[in-house]
Structure formats: structure tokens, C-alpha cells
């Protein structure tokens, strides 16, 4: 046993400096995709929608007149659009990609009379409003996780939260096995018919005020499994969601950002249609 203690001491501190300092790119792969609309023509937009395997890029109309809807909440980071149209679809290396409202992951472009696509409405800005109840959890928070029908990719990243790099506990965040002690429900996976009841029972057993996070494309939008014959659909069809963490799976740091965001301990960094806003 003493050998293990020595081993632990020798390794020293490996914890990420996130969220206190910049960690861009530390996790080896992007945390989301962003649409740089200035870099996209209508023809390219139509082709991007055709190659996107989910509903993350959808179009209607023609090259003369039409519309493109981009939804980072449905993006599974397959890399097709970023490889094909690197000027328009750009990987986000900043892990601060969690948002408070579903609309902040979406943007819509429109074009008429053969002109270049332009945004109809910019993605909603980060909301400054904080819920009063949040202050209760500012220093420690107990998380109840429910896998509502994931592929286990999201769980694999969640398990990394307890590993030294992310080290959840240093931030006062803990997983709890009992819903009655839980402040926050963290849901992964598309909600399947078979998991709907256990999910809702867990939520009901939690004391108020309760926070809810939808983690991963599946929980946010159904992701790859949207519209499946045995699924109920995205989480916010069943519960009010306080934060969305995009990704497939969301990286450990993106998950941390989501947790700190609902607690009011981190600010929002992502907008579906703007350049990286800096920070972290």
C-alpha cells in the first residue's frame, strides 16, 4: 500500500488549469462546430446539408432563394462539413461550449435573388439572468446522472471527470447515488421508451430546487438517433433544461463548463454563428 502512496506523490499534479486558465486544444479534439456564415455560398450550403448525417445542417429552397438552419445541438462532430468547407464550418477548440438556452446553439441563414447567405437573426446572446436558487449550490453540488439511452461514449467522458486531469471534486462537485441528495440531474443519451419512466421517477425524487443538464447531442436533440422508432426524443421535451452541453460525446472540460455554467461560476463562451469569443 505504501508503494501506491509513493507512486501517487511521484506523479505530482496533473490536473488541468481549466476553468481558471486557458486550455484551448488541450483535450486533443474540438468540442463543437461553429458556422462562419461569411465563408459560405448558397450552393455550398445546400451541399453541406446533403453531407451532414444529422439535422445539424438543414436547408430548404434553392441556390437562388433559400434558407439554411444550423444546429450545434444536433452536431455529432463527424467532421464532414469541416473537411469539405473549412472556411465556413470551423472546429471550436475552446471547451467553454455549454449554453443556457437551446436557441444559443442555433442560427439561420437566408438568401434571396441569388445573393450571399446572411443571418436572419443572430444566435441569442448569453442571458445575464441568474436564477435565485442557484446561489444555494455555489460551493458544493451533488449530481445525479441518468443514462437515458446513450452509446456509453458520454459515460466514458463522465467517468473521466473523476480522473486526475479533470478532478471534479476540487471544484466541490460530487456524484451522488441518491436522488434525494441530488441538486442536479445530468442526463446523457436520447431518451428511450424503456428509460422514460426511470428518468422521470429520478427527477421526481429530487428535492427542489433542481437543475437539469442535457449532455451530448443525443440528449439535446436526439443526435444520431433522432426520430428512432423506440425513442421518446430530446430531453427538453420531458423536462425543463438549464444547460446544454454539445458534443458527441462532450469532452470532460465541456462537461465541467456546463456544470459551472448552471452554477453561475462560469460564463458562456459559445455562439453558433460567431468567432471564438476568447476566454479559457
Amino acid at each position: 500500500m505504501s508503494r501506491w502512496i509513493a507512486k501517487g506523490l511521484r506523479t505530482g499534479i496533473r490536473t488541468t488549469r481549466f476553468p481558471q486558465a486557458g486550455v484551448r486544444g488541450e483535450e486533443g479534439a474540438p468540442s463543437a462546430i461553429r458556422l462562419r456564415w461569411q465563408g459560405l455560398t448558397a450552393v455550398e450550403g445546400l451541399e453541406a446539408a446533403a453531407i451532414c448525417p444529422t439535422s445539424a445542417i438543414e436547408t430548404s429552397g434553392t441556390a437562388e432563394e433559400g434558407e439554411l438552419r444550423f444546429d450545434a445541438g444536433a452536431c455529432i462532430l463527424c467532421g464532414r462539413c469541416t473537411r469539405r468547407f473549412p472556411d465556413a464550418f470551423t472546429p471550436v477548440e475552446n471547451p467553454r461550449v455549454a449554453v443556457r438556452s437551446r436557441d444559443q446553439l442555433r442560427t439561420t441563414l437566408r438568401w434571396e435573388r441569388g445573393e450571399a447567405p446572411a443571418p436572419v437573426a443572430l444566435a441569442a446572446a448569453a442571458s445575464a439572468v441568474q436564477q435565485a436558487g442557484l446561489r444555494l449550490f455555489r460551493h458544493s453540488l451533488h449530481i445525479r446522472h441518468v443514462d437515458a439511452g446513450s452509446c456509453n461514449g458520454c459515460e466514458s467522458e463522465l467517468q473521466m471527470l473523476s480522473a486526475p486531469y479533470a478532478d471534479l471534486h476540487r471544484l466541490g462537485l460530487f456524484f451522488t447515488p441518491t436522488p434525494r441528495h441530488a441538486d442536479l440531474l445530468l442526463v446523457t443519451g436520447v431518451v428511450t421508451e424503456n428509460m422514460k419512466a426511470p428518468l422521470l421517477e429520478t427527477y421526481a425524487a429530487m428535492p427542489a430546487p433542481k437543475l437539469v443538464i442535457a449532455a451530448g447531442a443525443c440528449a439535446i436533440s436526439g443526435g444520431s438517433f433522432a426520430g428512432g422508432p423506440t425513442t421518446v426524443g430530446p430531453l427538453d421535451r420531458l423536462l425543463r433544461v438549464d444547460a446544454y452541453v454539445p458534443g458527441c460525446p462532450p469532452t470532460p472540460q465541456a462537461l465541467l463548463h456546463g456544470l459551472l455554467l448552471v452554477l453561475g461560476r462560469a460564463s458562456q463562451g459559445y455562439r453558433a454563428d460567431q468567432e471564438d469569443q476568447g476566454g479559457a
Binding site: M1, T11, S150, C151, A163, P198, F225
Partner: protein, 516 residues
Amino acid sequence: MSGALARLASAAGLQLEWYGGDQAHAAVPGAEFSELVSALARRATLSDLFATTTIKTPPRLTAVLQVADDPAWLLLTADLESTRFASLTAQVHAASWYEREIFEMHGLEPVGHPALGPLRLHHRPEDQPPVPDGRGETAAVPSRINSRRRTPSVTGQGVFQLPLGPVRSGPQESAEFLFYSGGEDIVEVDLRLGFKYRAIELLAEGLRADQAIQLAERLAGTSAFANGLAFTRAVERVSGVDVSPVAESTRALLGEVERLHNHFGSIARLAEATGLLVAAAQYGLLKEETLRTAGRLCGHRYLRGVLRVGGVQVVPGADARAQLQAQIGDWTQRSDRLTRLLEQTSTFLDRLDTTAVLLPDYASEHNLVGPVGRASGIDRDVRRDHPYAAYGSVEFDVPTVADGDAEARFQVFSRELKQSLGIIRQLLEHWPADREEPGVTAWHEGSALGWAEAPGGECLHWVDLDGQGRLLRWRARPPAVVNWHPFAHACGSGNNLTDYPVIEASFSISAAEFDR
């Protein structure tokens, strides 16, 4: 094509039709199917058994077999005249869960099956089909299975029930375990899966095969690449496309990176289950480093979005390869040292020793796969037995241990880590030059099998495509479909309730991969 498979087939009087040199198909009459497969399974391994039901054609059964010392696969098909067929389970135990799935999903009844119960469907009214009809070509037949729990076989004074799940205590997958215990011991476990049933194979029907790769990659996150690869290779077999050497090396390399992050993760969980938090943290570091390396090699931590029909979308760049090469020595050294430390830690070994034993006889009757099988003496690995990607050009051992307990599974994990690191080193040393790849030029109609050795074991995907490359039927048989079957048996082999976390960690098995 001579060899063990051809000899076996000719002895059984089968007319073989060869497909690309590595798989032989034979059609047999429905009435003879069960008897023939039972007879063949005495000298071959039954690796899959599934049904295809469509609106237009009679129900069809397909058995997938492999013969020792022959790199080819034998696929036997039979069209049934009714919705009943003779169960194989009494002769071939490995058929048991396959037949249950055939009954549950297709309504074909294996007559004489000893325990037909539900596998994945819950609470479904009897008259409602599992999925809407008319998707692709498949019509799911209403299931006649009663989804209520079976009555416990264990009764008696002092036996109590302890439920666990489906919502678990930590960030784990949803599954339900009902323990029957007399106090501390586990008398029996009633396992209930299917909570995560996303109907992936059905969802893909009607899609063009290249658009369905992302679904194969999302069958299970921790074996995304192996499942994607087995699927892609099945499609390539049908379409007759060639894959360049650099794509083959990329496929093997990323397959091994996936094994590394899984096995590091598995040992981390074993350490955690035995209370060795420093060891868990050390292996956790190794897993995170592997995931980051994966991201730098291909742009995705779980190796998704790399595969395409006819090759790969991204070849790891020279920088990322050099970085990996520099990393290997360090990983090998650290993982060796950690393994040695664990082997000297009695609190670790005592918890694993004789825990959740699967005896070699049981393992071979059920044709167990992967580290779980190899820890019970099953010397099988498709990387060696049915070489694919670049595995034919590298040297490696397939470690086996005969003890069949959690400690044996730990041994297999750690020895496989060493082999994987060796394979990666060899691949990087002989990296082929980049080459343009044509990909698919024309789709062909037909069906074929693809395979890969996932971290959890042999992973088989079978596809049937139409002339435009659209999926008519997709059968996924990832390792979890095989290895959940012995799980309850292993739990009941004289263990205590407190052993449960160790048992689960030693199986390192995904519910998503079973539920699909």
C-alpha cells in the same frame, strides 16, 4: 479454396458459393437447418445466428460459423416455411440468446427452447409491433413475449431480493440487476437489459451504407471504431472495393488505440472497485492521454468520423504519428510498472482471485469472445484468425489464461495492452506512403460479413444491400451480445454482494452495445 472449412462443408454435403475468398455461403432447406447447424457446431464455432423477415419473402435464418485454422467464414442460410423452427439450444448453448432475439424481434419460434424470455423489449402491448412496418424492407412481426418479470427460481427462507438499477449510482450505463441473496452471498442474479434499445439497425434500413457508418460508430462509444470498421468492411465486401495500404495501417493503428483506452479504463475501474484510488487515478491518466492522442491522430477522441467505404477520411499526420511514437515507450514503461505494482498488492489480488469464475468448458460451450473468453482459455482473436486491415503484417501474441476469474481477466487486459503497444510500434515503423483512393465507384447488390476485434472481443456485422447501396438488412453482433450471457452465471458462482463492483469491472462490458 481448400482447407478446414471446405473439408467440413463437403463432409456435410454443402454446396459452397465463395464470396471474395474469405466467406463461403451455402443455402440449405429450412427443415434441415437446425440439424445441420448442430452437427457443424460440433466441429466449428457458432458465432452468430439471426433472422431476416420481410414483407415479400419467407423468413430466413442465417448461421455464421468459423472453423479452427481457416481464415474463412461459413454462412449458412435457410428459408423457413412457417414461423417455427427447431431450437438448437439444447445441443448448442451458444444459440440460446440468439434464438431469444429471433423470437422477440421477428416472432419466429424456436420450438423446444428451454427458456424463452424477453431480452430487450419492455412493457410492449402484445398486439403492437415493436417498430412501425414498412421501414426499408423489414416488417417486424408482433412480439408475443410477455414482458413481465419471470418468477424467481430461487425461493426459500431467508432469501431476499436486492435490486440495482436501471439508474446506477455513479456515471454508469443503465441496466437492471436483481440479486437474490441469503445475506452476503449472491445466490442468483436476474439481469434485465434493453433499457437503451435505440433500434439502430432498423433506423439504418433504407439509408445508403456510407451514411450509416456514423450509426455503426454510435452503437457503443467505447468500441466505436471496431464497430464502424466491421460494418464498413462488410459493405466493402459487397461492393468489391479495395483499400490502400495506408488506409489499412490507419485502421489497424486506430483499432489498437481504441483497445488501449478501453483496457486502461477497465483496469482503472478494477482498481477503483478494490479501493485502490491511486492506481485508479494512474490508469485514468493513461486513458485520458490515450483519448487526447486519438484526437490528435484523427480529430475525434473516440475515433469517430474516420472510416469511409473504400478507405479512411483522415490519415494520421506525420506530426501526430511522431508524437505517438515518442509516447509509446513511456506508456509501455508506466503500464508495465503499474501492472507489477498491482500484482504485488494483496488487497487487489485477493478481491479478484476466484471471483466470478467462468470455467473453460462453460466458456467454450457459450463461445465467449474477447478478454472474457481468453481469460477462460478460449484462444480466439479475429486479428490473428481472420486477418484484416494491416494485422497480417505485424507480429503479436494472443494472451490466454485458463483460470477464468476476475484476476485472469485482469491478466489478459494487461498483457493485451503490451501487445497493442507493440503492434502500434510496428505499424508506425513501416508506415506506407499516402495514396489516392477511388472509394466506391459503383454499388453492387448482395450481402456479406465484416469483422473486427473490438476491445471487448469479436465484432461481426452483416449487411444486405440493394443495387444503390441502400441497406435492406443490417445485423450487428458486437461482443457484448455474446458476453452478457455468461454475466449472470459468473455472478452466481459463489460470490458475495460486495464482489459485485469487481465482477462488473472485470467484464468491462457495455449495455449500449448489447441493447443497440
